[in-house]
């Protein structure tokens, strides 16, 4: 069996940062990702990030991805792509399916002294009549097509959801030459930052607040050709008689994200529900270690936030794992972790950030209480 000091699941910002820190400290690190390329969703974020200069504000997500991949190479991180982690097993064994679809895949087991799960998040869906038709897709899927694969998913787009993803992807669809025929939001006001919303409204995109999509109508080939939207009442139920029909071949759903943490569920790690973070969140301490000793978590798997917070949490997890293995002195590790927590604090400011800071503190407190009560799970 292959032996590694640290196995990191997911090569997005959190996983890359964790792998870089652990490897730089001297640990042997294997970084796994099921995609064709590392970088997670960074390479579809062609916009400039906000934040302080410590977080490379004003830098595009794609450029941050390039830098992280380069640092991983420089620090000797071993990366396996097209590698899906199928399960974690007793004794810190990582079950991996390696290879692309349509080829003979290998099933491999790697033994890791420490495991860091940075599996990211997946998109929420909204169901309406016709929601399974080709042409209905996640906003992130549309973003991947235009910014990574350089192909338009369609010509005329209805964006459902006005959070930052809905707003940014709407703007990027226009940059890619698509027409955004409507931005539809069930709430009475736009969900995301005003600066992103302004770009959409300035461009003249019709915004339908208190509206939702009620039906997607296909053409003869079975692909979306018309979209029916309607006004909703205070309990978000469509109001009969308010329907409008829009000509569009894509409905992009930007209805938020939820953490991907199945591997930690498999290990029976302790979880709690956090609406702010988008779902069930694995409890962890300030080292990013879960209730299963030796298994760490970072990034959107610990609650949906942003690339920069994922990166800092990844750093903390990587440093903590290397510290436990004796590669970094406690003094150096504690100083580095404290600095990362400080930068995280700077990212969790403002009306949106403060809610996330409070929610993160609840998770840390809940972890302490559960472990103090002797609640321990896993291997």
């Amino acid at each position: 069996m292959i032996e590694k000091d640290v196995v990191v699941v997911g090569a997005g910002p959190a996983g890359l940062a964790a792998a870089i820190e652990a490897s730089a400290a001297g640990a042997s690190v294997l970084l796994l990702d099921q995609n064709l390329k590392p970088g997670g969703q960074l390479f579809k974020q062609i916009h400039k990030f906000f934040g302080s200069s410590a977080h490379r504000s004003g830098t595009r997500g794609t450029d941050i991805g390039t830098v992280l991949c380069e640092e991983a190479r420089e620090n000797g991180v071993e990366i396996w792509l097209n590698s899906t982690v199928m399960g974690l097993f007793v004794g810190n064994k990582v079950g991996i399916e390696k290879g692309t679809d349509g080829t003979a895949k290998q099933m491999l087991t790697v033994h890791a002294k420490k495991i860091i799960v940075a599996a990211g998040a997946s998109e929420n869906v909204v169901r309406f009549k016709g929601w399974t038709l080709p042409g209905v897709m996640g906003a992130g899927a549309a973003q991947t097509m235009i910014n990574v694969n350089r192909v338009r998913p369609g010509r005329k787009i209805v964006m459902l959801g006005s959070g930052n993803v809905g707003l940014i992807v709407s703007y990027q669809l226009m940059q890619a030459g698509c027409e955004v025929v409507a931005l539809v939001e069930a709430a009475p006001k736009i969900g995301g930052y005003a600066v992103h919303a302004a770009k959409i409204t300035r461009a003249g995109v019709p915004v339908f607040l208190r509206h939702t999509v009620v039906e997607a109508i296909p053409d003869t080939s079975g692909v979306v050709s018309q979209v029916i939207i309607a006004e909703v009442d205070s309990s978000f139920k469509p109001i009969p008689g308010t329907e409008k029909t829009l000509e569009a071949d894509v409905i992009a759903i930007g209805a938020g994200l939820k953490p991907v943490a199945e591997l930690l569920h498999l290990m029976n790690c302790a979880f709690m529900f956090s609406p702010v973070f988008g779902g069930w969140i694995p409890l962890h301490n300030a080292d990013m270690e879960t209730s299963c000793e030796g298994i760490y978590v970072a990034g959107d798997s610990t609650g949906v936030e942003e690339a920069n917070t994922a990166l800092e949490e990844g750093r903390i997890a990587g440093i903590s794992a290397a510290q436990k293995l004796g590669y970094i002195s406690p003094e150096e590790a504690e100083a580095k972790k404290a600095a990362a927590w400080e930068r995280l604090g700077a990212l969790r400011l403002g009306p949106f950030g403060e809610r996330r800071l409070a929610a993160k503190n609840v998770i840390l407190t809940e972890f302490e209480q559960k472990t103090a009560r002797g609640v321990h799970h896993g291997n």
């Binding site: 099921q34 995609n35 064709l36 969703q41 062609i46 595009r60 692309t100 679809d101 349509g102 997946s122 998109e123 399974t132 038709l133 080709p134 042409g135 209905v136 897709m137 996640g138 992130g140 899927a141 549309a142 991947t144 097509m145 235009i146 910014n147 694969n149 350089r150 192909v151 338009r152 998913p153 369609g154 010509r155 940059q175 890619a176 030459g177 296909p218 080939s221 079975g222 692909v223 071949d249």
Partner: protein
């Protein structure tokens, strides 16, 4: 219907030239070697990847990152290939999937 983005205000010009031939339900199309199969299909106006087993409903791109399996097709005779994360190779034979195998019409 999708098309390629030749020029982009941030990403610049797409210098790739679709030069490899792939075959979709018996018809030849041009694609970029190494790009996801799904992208090549969208660029060629193909939006339906498969039909469901029970009700034969069409499915296409949904998540774009290998999670949902809605874009699965039969590639070189192998069913359930997630086309959004499988790279194009020269001469690939791709068939619309119907249930768990190729759509009958693909043989016509």
């Amino acid at each position: 219907m999708g098309t390629r983005i030749a020029d982009h205000i941030i990403l610049g010009e797409d210098i790739r030239i679709p030069a490899v031939e792939i075959f979709v339900d018996g018809k030849a199309f041009l694609a970029n070697e190494g790009e996801p199969i799904l992208s090549a299909l969208l660029a060629n106006g193909i939006n339906v990847n498969r039909y469901t087993a029970k009700r034969h409903e069409p499915r296409g791109l949904f998540c774009g990152i290998g999670q949902c399996t809605d874009c699965a097709m039969v590639v070189d005779g192998v069913p359930n290939v997630r086309t959004c994360i499988t790279p194009v190779k020269c001469g690939m034979v791709i068939q619309t999937q119907d249930g768990l195998g190729p759509k009958e019409a693909a043989y016509d």
